[in-house]
Structure formats: structure tokens, C-alpha cells
Amino acid sequence: MEKAKISVIQLFAMMFLFELGSAVVVSLGIGAKKDAWLAILFGMCGGVALFFIYYFLFRQYPNLPFTGYARKIFGKYLGWSIGLLYTVYFLYAAARNLRDFGDLLLSSTMIETPLLAIHILFVLTICYVLYLGIEVVGRTAEVMIVILIFLGVTANLSVYLSGEVDLRNLQPFLENGWKPIITTAFPLTTYFPFSEMFVFTMLLPYLNRPELAKKVWLSALIVSGLFLSYTACLNIAVLGVEELERSIFPLLSTIGKINLFEFIQRLDAIVVFTFLITMFFKIAIYFYAAVIGMADLFKVKKHQHILFPIGLILIFLSIMIASDFSEHIEEGQKITSYFIHIPFHIIIPLFMLVVAMTRNHFKKKAN
């Protein structure tokens, strides 16, 4: 644990950027076809429900990160190994997102650059920023969110002014009934990206006003949910569902349609920058959680000491996890969602909740 404090706004900015992450550029919730936006909103509700589990645990141990109170709840050995599992999971998630980032960047703008070069440079940047500490990450998030808003407003205005938005593409509402919406929302959109915010249980102890943790978390969740839902609407309205289903980087296609006065066109740079900024924070936060988790478990005094070795592991992991993009995506949808997200985001925290409650119960009785 660093001795650092982050403000409410900084935490909000980090959460918001984290949530947008890759979700804002991929075709999120496309399983629900034209009602993808609704599936995203349902997923957000799922995220809110899960939040209360994490929040209860945080309230019990407001000064400890997740790996810390795992030991308090499960005892020294079991808690330690669970903590280790989680740090490995955080590292894996960081690697997955890094791979997402690299693959999408390569297939969209930099075709000939090797993936490894992109990853090394990106991880170096992340290492540098994390080296400066979580406070700096928070402040950077504050600045970046302003840049992001500026980019977003420009892109949105251009799309609307180009007259590419056709709201009829969103009709009919509930074309295929409720079933595909529910099955897309639970589990897929709930996990990606809303329950991923679980990683912030590692960062909450840094908050300078812990009493506002609930507000920040929920508002970040809801704002990002609405924003993602809006983006999905925009993509469908501009591209139509068929094209959206086909494309791996729909936001890029949407922005590609911009044509104002035959001069303002080809604003792809906006999407690339947005993607770069949001993914930077997503990977950085996962990576940071892994690093401070390790530092906590192995009693390293300064997380800076283990930043580089773990960064190296991150780079190799991101290259090794899949041989091609399709395998990577399939792994994400089939394996990660069910075998990692469910136990790590729901079952173990729920179990911890039960244990903690029983303990409290007995403690009270003893008193």
C-alpha cells in the first residue's frame, strides 16, 4: 500500500475511464441486436446489484484492499492463497485488455507494426505512470477525462451534422422479444464491463473520504452505463445492425461516415485517441491492482520495486494468451465470462460476505 490519497473526483474519473475501456469501441451487447442499448442498461443494473456485495465488504474493512481483508476473513493461509488467485486474475485481465488493445489498434491503423512493439511501448508508459504513484494516475485521469469529453463532443457533433444518424435503424423496439435482451444482459454485459469494476475494491482504501465511496461507485457505474448505452444507440443508428454485427471496431466505422463540407472527414484519429486513453486507464488499473496485491501478499514495501518484473510478465502473458484474435475473443466470451468472472466476481465475494456476516453475528453474541 502506498501512502496516497485520491479525491472523489479522481476516483470517479478513473472509474469512468475504466468502464469505457474497450467497451466503448466494440459492439457491446450485440446479442440483443437492435435492443443492445437496453441490454447494456440491464447489465448496468446487474453491476449495481453486485456492487452492494463489494460495498458491504468494504464497509467492514475500510482501510484494507481486497487481498488484505481476504486474509482477515478466511484466515492467514486460505486468505493468502485467495489473494494470490485474485492478483493473478488481475494480471490476466490486464493482459487480456492489453491484447484487445494491441489487436484492435493493429487491425485498424497500424497494420505492419509488430504486436510486441506496441505492447512493450504501452506497458512502458503504464509502468512510468504507475511508478509515479496512484495519486498521479488519479490526476492524470482528471485531465484525460476533459480531453475525452472534448473529443466526444466533437465526434458527436460531426456525426449528427453529417446527417448519418437514422433513428429508424433502432426500430422496431423488441424485435425479437425480451429473451435475447435478458440472455445478453445476464451474464455478458453484466460482466463486461460492469462487474469488472470489482478491481476498484483494491483502490477504495485510498479514497480520501471513504463515506462517499458508495456515491462515487454508483454514479460512475450509472454514468458510464448510460454513456455506453448511448454509444450503442448511435452505432446502430448510423451503421445499422447488420454492419454492426460484422465489424470488430464499430465506433471506428461510425466515425468513418463523417463527412462535413467535403473537408471535415476521416476523423479516425479521434477514435484512436479515445481508445488509447480509455484502454490506458483500464490496463493501468488492472495492472496496478495486481502490483499492489503482490506487494501486499509478499510484504514488499514499495510497489515500485516489483513494477518492472510484473510488467515484463504482463507483456509476455498478453502475447501468449492467444494465437490469433478470433481465439482471443472466443476465449473471452466462452471461458473468461463463465469460469473466471462468475467465481471471482460473484461466488467468492458472496461467500466472503456470508463468512463475514456470521463472524459479526458471533462477535456480537460474544459481546
Binding site: 498521479v136 490526476r139 484525460m144 476533459v146
Partner: protein, 534 residues
């Protein structure tokens, strides 16, 4: 083996010791002023190595011409008029009533001279030899009296000093037209002139083992944060140098972070800026001999504010600030974005523009990065040449450089005209950044961005942006986060950041710089005329 190891470690240990400076100069063997005039004079001459600017005037004072006295001063540092009219003449001619004191008692005579005869503002009795030498070298006039072991130091400093001129680096159309000069006393007086408050406190100290330069810390008691003040004093106390050449010596010694490109202290030549900053709770360090005091702590945004902003209407001032920040971004990212768009992302350039650019680049031998580097370096060389040359030649340099060289290079097909436009646009944009340290920082960072752009295109520039922002977020100036009103976000301070709100709204001081005394007196609700009755 063992001894070799020991020797090595010894050297290592020696290096680790705090640097020891030779403290020979003024420290002489003599401790006290002697009773004998001749001995004293000889010692002084020896101490100064018979320097030719040392003036010694020996004479006898009083009607009966009883007492040998001597006056010494440094030629050029003392005001000869004052010395002859108010010291020598009084001593030689008009001392009628020396009879009233016992002539045999030099102590009585000494007191009498000190209290009744010498007609200058400040006199001081000195017994300490070093102190006497120091005050002599500071321009004071020393009066020695035979038979007594004290000297009188009279403040009759004079000599040639530069007079107050109009500010040249930070001119303003409206507002005061004076700038600081080299003399410390004149500078502090200019601030006193503006802030007639007993709370304006000045603390002076001498820094530099050889130069013995006067350094003054100025602040407004009650507004300044005490923690900041102690921190400043502590850091200045750690300075150990032979010479304090100017304010930048102090700046480089006390800076928070040496490895940052950003300036963490604010330098100005305008007294009104200093006065304004003092009232915001900042500390100013004046150094004798430098017309540029340092103001600290400084934040990033303060380098985009000029004195003029506070004399123009607020709307115009805000617009100009916005313009400067746009120019800053243009300077920083202009060439790198040009490189990344043309060399990596040609698909993002509108077709008509691309055809024109491609046509211009036909036959140009260099890759675009080298072309840009060549042009930027040429521009920096031209700028340097223009600055170092005397002004009339400097203009010739700029004409040859800008017009002839640029034109010829384009005509010869060495560089493309688009590149000339980009470089020139960047250069002009960089001139709008009002403070030189910030301009210099951007000039250097621009090259870094160009390298990133040349290697990875927009991806490199994006990563460069993130690293730069993160680094800037990590910088602190005397504990104050460098990007203060933005990150951490202090919305109340935005009224004087990107835009300048009308004065009545500027009712609070910046939050982080002032921890306690935030509210300024004044109420924005009282502004403007009363509503008319009819």
C-alpha cells in the same frame, strides 16, 4: 588487497561528504579593529591587496587639529558629495566645540562624532574587523579614529546605478511602465510603494561565500502560508555556493525537481506582478544584482497569465489566455502531428490536401522526419543567431534566414513549402507564450514529440501525451501540485485560470497556496452603480 579496498572506500566516503568550500576570502587573521590608525590602515590595504579603487583620506579634525582621523571608501561605490559635504567638511571645519568633550578621551570623542557630527542617515559603530570590511565593500564609508578600537560606518552609498526603465520582456499596453533594476533596495522599494502594509515583511541574508550577495525573501505576513515560508527558508539555508550569480542560482538550488522540463518557479521583471502574487500568498525572492526576482510556488497555468490580463477587460483577457493555450498546444504538437499524419496516416488527410502535399514532396530527398528536424533546427539556429547579434544585425539575420534561406530551400526542392508553413506557424505560435521558461520547455518537448511521431505516428504522440500529462501531474512546486486548479480539481480557482473573471469575482485567493486566509476582502455583490430610482 585489504588496504586497496580501504583506499577505495575512503575515496568513496570522501565523495559522500558534504562539499567543503574554501572559506578564505574575507575571513582574515585579524579579529578586531586595532586602536592604532596606521595599523588599521595598513591592514585594510593589505586585505584588499592595495586595490586601486580604495580611497583613503587622512586628516586631522577639530580646531586645534588634535585628532588624526581617516576616511576610507571604495571609489565608485560611495557618494563623494555626501562624503565631502556631510562628513569631511563637518569634521574639518565646523568642529568648534570639541573643547566641550575631553580631548584626551577618544571614547567620548567617538560618541560625540557619531552622535553629533556625521550628518548622514545611518551610522554604526563597528568593532569587528570582518564586519568592517564587509560594510566597506558594500559601499559604506568607514571613519577611523586614532586611539580608539571602533570605527564608524556611514551609509553614504552612491555610484552609478541603472535607472528604472520600461519593461522589455513583459510589456503591457496599459498598466505601470516600470521594471525591476539590479539594485535590491530599489526593487524592494518598488514593492513597498505598491503595498503600504506593515504586513509586508522582508528578510535579508547574504549568500555566496565569495560574492556575499544580498538575498531578500519578501512575503505578506498573515496571507502567506507559514509552512511554505519555513520550507523556503529551509531550502535557501541549504545553499552552499561560492557565488550567487543571479536569481537562477537560487532557483536551481531550491527547485523541487531538477529533471523536469517545466519551470517550477516564476520569474518576472514587473513590480506589479510581484505585488499581485504576494497578495495571493506567494513568496518572492529578490537577489541583488538581478532584475528578475523569483516568485514561488508557481503553477502551470501561471505561465499563461500576463500582467496585461489584469489591465484589459476581462473578456479580452480570457480570450487571450485561451489563445495562448491553443498556441501552446500548436507548438507542442504541430510538427509531430504533421509528421504522423503525412508519414503514417496519409489516409486521414482530405484528398485534395493530400494531392497537394504529395505533389510538393516529389523530388524532396529527405524523409519527412528529417525534413522537419532540419527545418526546426534551422529555425532554432536562426533564433539563436538573432538573439545574440546586436539588434541591427539581428534583423538582417532574420531577413536572410527567413526570407532568403526559406525561399531558396523551397525553390531548390530541399524542403516542401508545407513544411515551411508548419515550422513557421509553430514558431510564431511559440512566441505567444508569454514567459520564456515555459517557451523554452515547449521548444525542447516539441523535439521529443517529433521523435515519437516519427517512430509510431499517432500512437506515439498519444503515448507521449499521456506520459507528459502524468509527469506534469507528478511535478510539485514547493508542495503545490503543478497542474493545481485542474488536477487536483479545484473548481473555485478556475475563475482566474483559463479565463479571468471580472475583478469583483476574484474574491478568494488560490486554495492550495493559501491554506488559511482564503477570502480576500471585498464582496462581488457590491459592484456596479446603484439601481436608478426613476
Amino acid at each position: 588487497m585489504n588496504s586497496a579496498w580501504k583506499r577505495l572506500t575512503k575515496i568513496h566516503n570522501k565523495r559522500k561528504q558534504a562539499p567543503q568550500y574554501k572559506e578564505t576570502e574575507i575571513k582574515s587573521n585579524i579579529q578586531k579593529v586595532s586602536e592604532h590608525l596606521d595599523e588599521n590602515l595598513k591592514n585594510i590595504k593589505d586585505a584588499l591587496g592595495n586595490s586601486s579603487d580604495l580611497e583613503i583620506r587622512e586628516f586631522k579634525m577639530g580646531k586645534p587639529s588634535l585628532h588624526k582621523v581617516a576616511i576610507i571608501y571604495i571609489n565608485g561605490l560611495a557618494d563623494k558629495n555626501i562624503i565631502s559635504n556631510f562628513v569631511i567638511e563637518r569634521l574639518m571645519g565646523n568642529v568648534h566645540n570639541t573643547e566641550s568633550v575631553n580631548p584626551q578621551s577618544p571614547s567620548q570623542l567617538f560618541t560625540y562624532i557619531k552622535e553629533n557630527i556625521v550628518a548622514v542617515g545611518t551610522v554604526e559603530g563597528i568593532t569587528d574587523w570582518d564586519k568592517m570590511l564587509l560594510s566597506l565593500l558594500s559601499g559604506k564609508t568607514i571613519l577611523l579614529l586614532d586611539g580608539w578600537n571602533q570605527v564608524i560606518s556611514c551609509a553614504a552609498e552612491g555610484g552609478e546605478l541603472r535607472s528604472i526603465t520600461e519593461p522589455t520582456i513583459e510589456p503591457a499596453v496599459r498598466g505601470p511602465k516600470e521594471s525591476f533594476v539590479e539594485s535590491l533596495i530599489t526593487n524592494t522599494a518598488m514593492i513597498r510603494h505598491r503595498i503600504k502594509s506593515p504586513n509586508l515583511w522582508i528578510e535579508t541574508m547574504k549568500l555566496g561565500n565569495i560574492t556575499q550577495t544580498d538575498v531578500a525573501i519578501m512575503y505578506v505576513k498573515g496571507i502567506v502560508d507559514d509552512k511554505l515560508l519555513t520550507e523556503v527558508k529551509e531550502r535557501i539555508g541549504k545553499i552552499e555556493v561560492e557565488e550567487v550569480g543571479g536569481s537562477n542560482t537560487i532557483e536551481e538550488w531550491i527547485t523541487d525537481d531538477t529533471l523536469t522540463p517545466w519551470p517550477t518557479m516564476f520569474v518576472t521583471e514587473r513590480p506589479d506582478v510581484v505585488a499581485g502574487q504576494l497578495l495571493e500568498g506567494r513568496v518572492t525572492i529578490f537577489v541583488d544584482g538581478t532584475p528578475n526576482p523569483i516568485i514561488l510556488p508557481a503553477t502551470w497555468i501561471s505561465f499563461f497569465q500576463t500582467a496585461e490580463d489584469y489591465y484589459l477587460r476581462w473578456s479580452m483577457a480570457s480570450f487571450l489566455r485561451f489563445l495562448r493555450i491553443v498556441a501552446f498546444i500548436m507548438t507542442l504538437f504541430g510538427p509531430s502531428l504533421f509528421i504522423s499524419f503525412t508519414a503514417f496516416h496519409s489516409e486521414l488527410i482530405p484528398t485534395a490536401l493530400l494531392i497537394s502535399l504529395a505533389a510538393q514532396r516529389q523530388g524532396i530527398p529527405f524523409p519527412i522526419f528529417f525534413e522537419a528536424l532540419l527545418m526546426e533546427l534551422t529555425f532554432e539556429v536562426l533564433r539563436e543567431a538573432g538573439v545574440r547579434m546586436p539588434r541591427p544585425i539581428g534583423q538582417a539575420v532574420s531577413i536572410v534566414g527567413a526570407l532568403v534561406l526559406g525561399e531558396a530551400a523551397v525553390a531548390a526542392g530541399i524542403v516542401s513549402s508545407a513544411m515551411v508553413i508548419v515550422v513557421a506557424g509553430t514558431a510564431i505560435a511559440s512566441f505567444t507564450i508569454p514567459h520564456h521558461p515555459m517557451m523554452d520547455a515547449v521548444r525542447l518537448l516539441r523535439f521529443l514529440m517529433m521523435v515519437l511521431a516519427a517512430s509510431f505516428g499517432l500512437y506515439g504522440v498519444g503515448l507521449g501525451l499521456i506520459v507528459l500529462v502524468a509527469h506534469t501531474c507528478s511535478v510539485r512546486s514547493f508542495g503545490i501540485p503543478y497542474l493545481a486548479p485542474f488536477a487536483p480539481l479545484i473548481f473555485a480557482d478556475w475563475k482566474d485560470a483559463f479565463m479571468r473573471m471580472p475583478k469583483p469575482f476574484l474574491s478568494t485567493r488560490p486554495r492550495l497556496i493559501n491554506q488559511t486566509n482564503i477570502t480576500r476582502t471585498g464582496n462581488s455583490k457590491n459592484r456596479g452603480p446603484k439601481p436608478r430610482e426613476n
